[in-house]
């Protein structure tokens, strides 16, 4: 049995945001962190390991510096890491990304009692699409928005968040779960973990590693193969050029509500 966890290194969007000419983000120019929801997915996998002794494999698609993040996850307790990295994969949208990650997961191998964990969404794109799309490409059942996961034998009972409550769902392995950060509190790297992390296996899957998979087709991956493209990207007008409204009476308030209504803000 093993748990495979998809993790993304994301730009720290609280810092400076740099954009390239083609409208995609210039990740190299920004500070990076491990995506929060993905850390919850890692912790969920590690808890499964604590309970069952299963193997935990972390996989990330990104440029070579993502190796640093993978080493940290090995130091937290993951057993193996895979970095999916190739020029051909660059500029992929969620669809293309899910094809590549699904091919990588197939290469790692999904067996009958395995679970694939993903974060619900990444803070740079906020799409929540890659998890379900990987599940589709792997023909696995999915449960998204997991806020609690319990495993008994080959069955997982998952609390799936709704806006106004939750659903309790039961799913058999193999399956894919996307985790919200409320699921748990990720552990820290341990001191022995930090010593061990450089001796644990970290494999790189490049284009050649994956190219024989039916999902890897230059017409359906990378910037060119992605179904969606950026038509235009633009900056919103600078904040701070706010509008001070005259007075503080009913007329002022009505004026404000009128503006908000006109802009469909309320």
């Amino acid at each position: 049995m093993k748990a495979i966890v998809c993790v993304k290194q994301v730009p720290d969007t609280s810092g400076v945001v740099a954009v390239k000419e083609d409208g995609t983000m210039d990740r190299a120019a920004m500070a990076t962190i491990t995506n929060h929801d993905d850390l919850a997915a890692v912790e969920a996998a590690l808890e499964l390991k604590d309970a069952t002794g299963c193997e935990v494999v972390v996989v990330s698609m990104g440029p070579p510096p993502a190796e640093g993040m993978l080493r940290e996850l090995l130091a937290m307790g993951a057993d193996k890491a895979v970095l999916v990295s190739a020029r051909e994969f660059g500029g992929s949208d969620t669809y293309a990304t899910s094809q590549i990650l699904a091919a990588a997961i197939k290469k790692i191998g999904v067996e009958q009692d395995d679970v694939v964990f993903c974060g619900r969404q990444a803070i740079d794109g906020d799409t929540a699409q890659v998890g379900p799309q990987i599940a589709e490409k792997l023909h696995l059942p999915q449960v998204s928005y997991a806020a609690d996961v319990k495993m008994e034998g080959n069955a997982l009972t998952v609390k799936r968040l709704l806006e106004d409550g939750y659903m309790m769902l039961k799913v058999q392995t193999p399956c894919l779960i996307t985790c919200v950060k409320e699921l748990n509190t990720p552990r820290y790297m341990s001191v022995p973990g930090i010593f061990e992390c450089y001796s644990k296996p970290l494999e790189v899957f490049n284009y050649d590693t994956l190219k024989d998979d039916e999902l890897i087709d230059l017409d359906t991956i990378g910037l060119k193969g992605s179904p969606t493209n950026v038509y235009k990207s633009f900056s919103p007008p600078v904040k701070g050029a706010g509008m001070m409204l005259e007075g503080a009476d009913k007329a002022t308030v009505d004026q404000l509500v009128g503006i908000l209504d006109g802009k469909h803000i309320i």
Binding site: Y95, Q129, P132, Q133, M167, V230, S233
Partner: protein, 368 residues
């Protein structure tokens, strides 16, 4: 490359809206999407169709979708569609899309829509753009949209003229906006968050004219691999600052009557469909619990609307909220730093301004 039906873009026609129901009741996001879809369908000169999956959904609810712009509703009735399952809904929707071939398919970005949309897009081999805040097919309309919302010199910029769906969404915490297209595949799919698009006035005559087509559903228990054990509605919501669409925060300005100040903020939050936050000062003073705190040592939020009542706007507070889409500040001191990041500012006493604002918003909502 592999052959996909979605590549034959010319074969796809019409605008569809997924009309989500829970417990047999249509979610209001469906009306917002139909209202928006109506404009797109008009610009393209095509039909607008609603798609409802459920079991025993009342006919009047289905017909009512015409009152928000739908020409036609495809209703898929099956006992296995009563409650949402990824497998069941994806299969039925993908079968229908393959059969009828819509060019545009809009889905509400609810916790269910954001599970369903990507699964369908992956199966249909097409693009999906999440959480769109603006949609256009007409380039001229798109250009006039950019004139008011961007720093682009629209008149001196070249635009490729086509009727592809132009899906605009915020990226990177609103630092940047991106307009996405899906030129090579159909349907062009997009999700939209609840509350982003306006609902048109209900049209009785439109509802009466709605054509309802009952779609035969091919679905069996074996198609569904996730079992629903229980669905629970939350009795009382916890304060979810981060997930909140609207946050109304209070600051030191409530000091003369903290209890009343918080109650006024709660009233305003209720009117806007939001939650109450606070600055650190109020937490330290013991007026409100720490889970409400916004700022560097509290939570970082970027809701659609952030209202700051009596908050001076220390840098630690601003760090936690300045990326909100629309910031409304009310403060007695016109020099308060909060006004530097505010979209709209009112210099005045929150105890007077907040209740007036609540009333004005309630009146507006009642008139809609």
């Amino acid at each position: 490359m592999a052959e996909f039906n979605s590549k034959d873009t010319g074969a796809f026609k019409g605008v569809w809206v997924f009309c989500e129901q829970r417990e047999g009741v249509i979610m209001s996001i469906s009306y917002q999407l139909l209202s928006e879809g109506r404009k797109l369908a008009n610009d393209l000169g095509v039909e607008l169709c609603g798609v409802v999956l459920g079991s025993g959904v009342k006919e009047e609810y289905i017909k009512a979708l015409g009152g928000y712009g739908a020409d036609k509703v495809y209703y898929c009735d099956h006992e296995l569609l009563k409650d949402y399952t990824t497998d069941g809904y994806t299969k039925v929707i993908c079968d229908l899309v393959e059969d009828k071939k819509p060019e545009i398919f809009l889905i509400g970005a609810t916790n269910i829509g954001r599970d369903l949309g990507p699964r369908c897009a992956a199966r249909l081999h097409t693009g999906l753009t999440a959480d769109c805040t603006h949609l256009d097919v007409d380039v001229e309309k798109y250009k006039s949209f950019l004139k008011t919302t961007s720093t682009i010199d629209v008149d001196n910029t070249a635009f490729e003229v086509n009727t592809n769906l132009k899906m605009t969404r915020p990226a990177f915490g609103g630092h940047l906006m991106a307009t996405i297209i899906c030129p090579r595949f159909r349907p062009q799919m997009s999700t939209v968050r609840p509350g982003v698009m306006a609902t048109q006035a209900y049209d009785e005559a439109g509802a009466a004219k709605t054509v309802v087509e009952n779609v035969p559903v091919s679905l069996s228990k074996d198609d569904i691999h996730v079992e629903i054990l229980e669905i629970k509605k939350a009795a009382k919501k916890m304060v979810d600052l981060i997930g909140a669409d609207v946050v109304v925060s209070v600051g030191r300005g409530i000091s003369k009557d903290p209890e009343k100040g918080i109650a006024l903020a709660q009233d305003l939050a209720n009117a806007l469909g939001g939650v109450v936050g606070s600055s650190r000062a109020c937490v330290d003073a013991g007026w409100i619990s720490a889970d409400h705190q916004v700022g560097q040592t509290g939570k970082t939020v970027h809701p659609r609307i952030y209202v700051a009542l009596g908050i001076s706007g220390a840098i630690q507070h601003k760090a936690g909220m300045q990326d909100s889409e629309c910031i409304i500040a009310v403060n007695k001191n016109g020099d308060a730093p909060i006004f530097e990041v505010a979209s709209y500012g009112i210099v005045g006493d929150l105890f007077k301004v907040a209740p007036m604002l609540t009333e004005a918003i309630k009146a507006l909502k009642a008139s809609k």
